[in-house]
Symmetry: D2
Subunit: 398 residues, 4 copies
């Protein structure tokens, strides 16, 4: 009755019930096979070619491990929600996320339109499952939705371990078996037993360590920034609309963009041949005017202004202002040995400090063509009122 | 002077000299980022999204480990040849290999036209390296070329370990560190020290075990067969020519094929949604007329004939006749403890038996639409004169 | 109600029911903590310090995985038998096995006297389990006993993976998850589903590769041989009797032997400081008179004779004649896809050849003090009529 | 000329030069084969049977990786010092450390008496190496000694990774390859390049996570405490003297202690059969009078007093007051990208907070016989003025 288990390098064999197999075989889920989990990060880590499809499977697997104490009905719902939680992602995952959100006014977890489509809803109906319940869980509007999107959720557990495996960095090794054994869905909350505290801390530390090394690696950010500018130009030029874009896969977008407007085509050509922009300016949180962080909508104006002053063609100076990091984990409820419930940040000094520390690695960047680097650097330093830091090294470090 | 080492999940950090970095940054090599190492195998193993690019890097790394005793000049040549050995692969790697070879009359290692192109040759010239030497090594026309393409070569070492890592099967764990320590390029031959015999046997066994599980998994063969038929139809219809095809990447081909002739478009749509053909017949080597294996050119006629007899549309019955396996490793020279040189197959009974055993897993398949399966099965059994094997299981095994 | 799961580097968390915990806490089982799994092999592989205790836990774990289809009663019995299967081992495991068997006339799996002792039987009685049933399973006198000691058993699965992990050799990586999923205890037999064939082959290959590298490494054999001679001298000298010996642990024997008769004390001093004998002769199966293999009881006479002729003190020439390897796996029943049962050796050419190949690595050794090596070599070659093989190497291989 | 490389599960192959091999083969180093790295921790983690011998080899390996920029002479010295840094450890490593120090007035790194012994000094002399230089490095009296014992040293790198491997906890996975690449011995200091910061943080975090899980696991502390009391009784009773004790191995001590005074013999019998004391009191740093921590010498008096008040035999109430954790890493020098040197704690908020957080896991324990637990608990709570914490759990957590 069951299909063969699916082999996953992270979790071993994943068993799949018939209704899950039916969902797996829809076009909406199969599209995720062609969407890389980490977008353009494979330009830094050549092994990072894994996809949203396997991540979705892994998230489903972890959700089913955690759902043991739910009712049969809730269990099925949360498993399905885990499997489908990423169907709203556009090509290159997070690299297209903001642009799609901006131009469709739809977040990547607003997936009701997909869950309630004939293809998915038809299957759910057969098994007596309400599509709206599923999209509710995915958007975190329900209590059990916390399992996949909460202060300590299976989405994050899966991606940290998986991203570490494929990039080859050694940070993502989490004792998730121990963690799973010490989390319960209890009284409408995800609750961590105190004795599982160290595994939870190890998960958060992994994430903490992976941010600067993987998720915010400067080369990845440059590539992502080039891609975002190419996408926006394509939308503004009418080459593609944002709704259509959201449902493309990496293959189609990459191939089609080669024939979009001149600027977008140039960008994708550069990306495909790893002919990237360079950093002209790269400054930490303490060195920038905080208002910049808040007013990202004026980013375009700044880019234009710097390009003009440096005599560089418009579109060839990019300003990259990362979002402030979130740190939802601090709100995780911990069940103490004496039966009390406390917030994670009140139990673990380590967790408390991590939020602050995220800023240590925050960097604003200004990127441009290699040949324009010096000119743009000079203008940008003046523009942002940043002093020149002599990059001298007594030791001759590269 | 050196770029940052590149992080590889298999070999750890790979150091890259400036001339290698220059070559890495060419379009010819960057294209390999978008070519999956195992073609459509990710339809069976969702983690198998790794690319020819990282395999090329890994092969370069292993070659440099083995090249220690060559002259400086030879060493540089063989490292470059290792890096470039796969630039001739078309999209989806082996899945397009035969079609490209048939219509271009060029094997995937006939890469002189790429190595001698301005983009690559220009760089090689700067460093005083002859492009023709490189393509000679890749095609195995030279003695040191054995390092990357011989009876026991680094190409194979890398792909077995890498493919196992990304598929998640446990077979590919080879003690390659021990093997590298016991291979030398000696007197114009790759020579294995006797004390390294067990590691060599473990490499061959891994390959032996991975064939049926990974490389010849029936679902992968069905997908590959559908893809090959789609490609041939596209070439015959003039949608693409084989020379152009060879230089595409997975992205471009996959996206463009959606707009090729109706049959090819249907096939890629089915592949992208994992809506695959099913096995109507699947028989071992002992059950088929051996002449079939030799006369693969009549395969098209057989397909047409079975389709006609079963009342199925042409193109929707596929006959898949795998090639006979090669087993070059048996010719590896082994240096015995007493100084004699022997052939590996004369030293290891295990190696001797493996060639024969490869046939145990050989299967000819006839594939068709799920809804035509029974009809086609009946016709195909009659056509090939194969008895019906009752697939009954006392134990209720699926 | 359950104790905390026990953390095992091989299987992760092992859950332990209360009756198992009670058995774990007996002196009979705790003794196994102080008995190294691979005896003196840590003189070759410094990491090989793992014990019979953790192996027993691992065997218990695998048995419980396989016992799913047994009755509740049989399941409990086989789990307990797995946990206790090695309690009859003497210090340094296999290294003392033959001597203990010879002088006690009791095999290491004749454990009725321990299972039926008050300490164990008292606990079993409380849970309504018959001690005699347990010892029957351990000795393979029952059908379900095959699970722990049969043609394809969990004892072997555990030790191969575990020994590879602690020695650090890469051969023992077996897809045991896949294997466990494809073995059933059916109709009073261990049965392997055909689709699990490759995992079973991988297990056998691992064992095959580990024999020469680990279990029969020549340095381990020398150490084992010195130890066996020291033990026999101690028994003959009345320092210890064989029944007492069987129930000692490594710690007690090692420490006490330092004060046994002069010869035994010298041997343990040498072993503890890794001051080992050297090979004077080392010849393969084809070079020896087969009758030697059969008449191991005359080994002592041969040793004395060679020592006398070479002018070496008695006890300082050791002859080591390994036993002929067994290969029980070939009798594993395989359930074919058409419902037939076949023997493994009839289904897998690879398995068929492995038995023969075991002899390839068989070596008889003559060991002595480093300073007597040449003299003894000369005499031994003459005695066994073995030609001198010039150990010249054109390549200067050590 | 070189011996075969030694296979290590952590670092792969370790190459050993002739003078190192000579040192390895001394009795002083071979003794470490019989000293478990983590003492009695294998009562908690059954796989933790690894020894000081393999840790010494691993430390040697890492030192040789770091020593690249030293002079040839310094390099040889630091490699030897790394190999020999633990020869002063007594049986069961840290579990006997304090007692030996107390009664010999010698710290475990005061190893001059061993390094300058004939056995070691004789070999060092042959190679022109001064024994006193080696013992100076080991005691951290020299600048280069920091490599093995400093703010960020190879001793710690090796043991964290190794302890994690053998216990099976997932925390010890450190990107040590990256770390090694970013540490230099520069201007008489160990210096960390800023770009290696994350790997250094990951090392510290691993240690941080392993403390409560492994090094300070309450069962391990109970066993260690019983052992320490048994040792002290043996010394006071004249069964063994502390100088002799320091040079024993686990085997000899364990076996001989079975015949020491009645109390020590009872303790080792309990330890060998894992028949351990239980916690009667277990309180955190915030709940105890800080003066206790300072006045550990009055611990004996407290034990006697509580035993008397609870009516328990002397020696069967143990008070365990862990030492305050050290945190030398904060003094590591970090070389910033602009060439400045800063302290690690000024660069990494994470490091800064970790020292404080160590106290979160500090626990004082009072242990006794299971049957006396309640009585002792009552008395101890009163004695230390600690309130009773109801160990109720709403969720029925064990």
């Amino acid at each position: 009755m069951f299909m063969s288990p699916i082999r996953d390098p992270i979790h071993g064999y994943i068993e799949v019930a018939p209704h899950i197999e039916r969902l797996l075989d829809t076009g909406i889920v199969q599209r995720l096979r062609n969407i890389k989990q980490l977008g353009w990060t494979n330009l830094v880590y050549p092994g990072a070619n894994h996809t949203r499809f396997e991540h979705s499977l892994g998230t489903y697997y972890l959700a089913s491990r955690l759902a043991g104490e739910l009712s049969e009905e809730e269990r099925r719902e949360i498993e399905i929600a885990a499997l489908l939680h990423d169907v709203g992602h556009g090509p290159y995952s997070h690299d297209s996320e903001d642009i799609i959100e901006q131009y469709t006014r739809r977040r990547h977890d607003d997936v009701a339109f997909l869950i309630e489509s004939e293809e998915i809803a038809g299957i759910l109906d057969e098994y007596g499952i309400k599509p709206s319940a599923i999209s509710g869980h995915i958007q975190g509007k329900t209590k059990i939705g916390q399992i996949i999107s909460g202060s300590l959720d299976v989405d994050r557990m899966d991606y940290i371990i998986r991203d570490a495996y494929y990039t080859g960095v050694a940070y993502g090794i989490v004792d998730y078996e121990h963690l799973l054994r010490n989390i319960r869905f209890y009284d409408n909350n995800i609750v961590l037993y105190y004795r599982g505290l160290k595994s939870a801390e190890s998960l958060l530390m992994s994430r903490f360590l992976m941010y600067p090394s993987v998720y915010d690696h400067h080369v990845g950010r440059i590539a992502g920034s080039m891609f975002v500018h190419a996408l926006e130009a394509a939308i503004l030029n009418g080459d593609v609309n944002a709704f259509e874009l959201q449902q493309m896969d990496d293959y189609e977008l990459n191939a089609r963009m080669r024939n979009f407007n001149e600027y977008s085509a140039d960008m994708i050509r550069r990306l495909n041949s790893r002919n990237l922009f360079k950093r002209a300016l790269y400054v930490g949180f303490d060195s920038v005017d905080k208002s910049i962080v808040r007013y990202t909508r004026i980013q375009k104006d700044i880019e234009r202004e710097i390009a003009r002053m440096a005599g560089v063609e418009e579109g060839y100076v990019l300003v990259d202002i990362p979002k402030m990091p979130e740190f939802r984990e601090r709100n995780t409820m911990v069940l103490m040995e004496n039966g009390q419930l406390k917030y994670l940040e009140d139990v673990s000094k380590l967790v408390k400090i991590m939020e602050e520390s995220y800023f240590d690695d925050w960097r604003m960047g200004v990127y441009t063509l290699p040949e324009c680097r010096d000119r743009v650097a000079r203008v940008a330093r003046a523009y942002f009122n940043v002093e020149r830091v002599p990059r001298q090294s007594k030791l001759g470090v590269a």
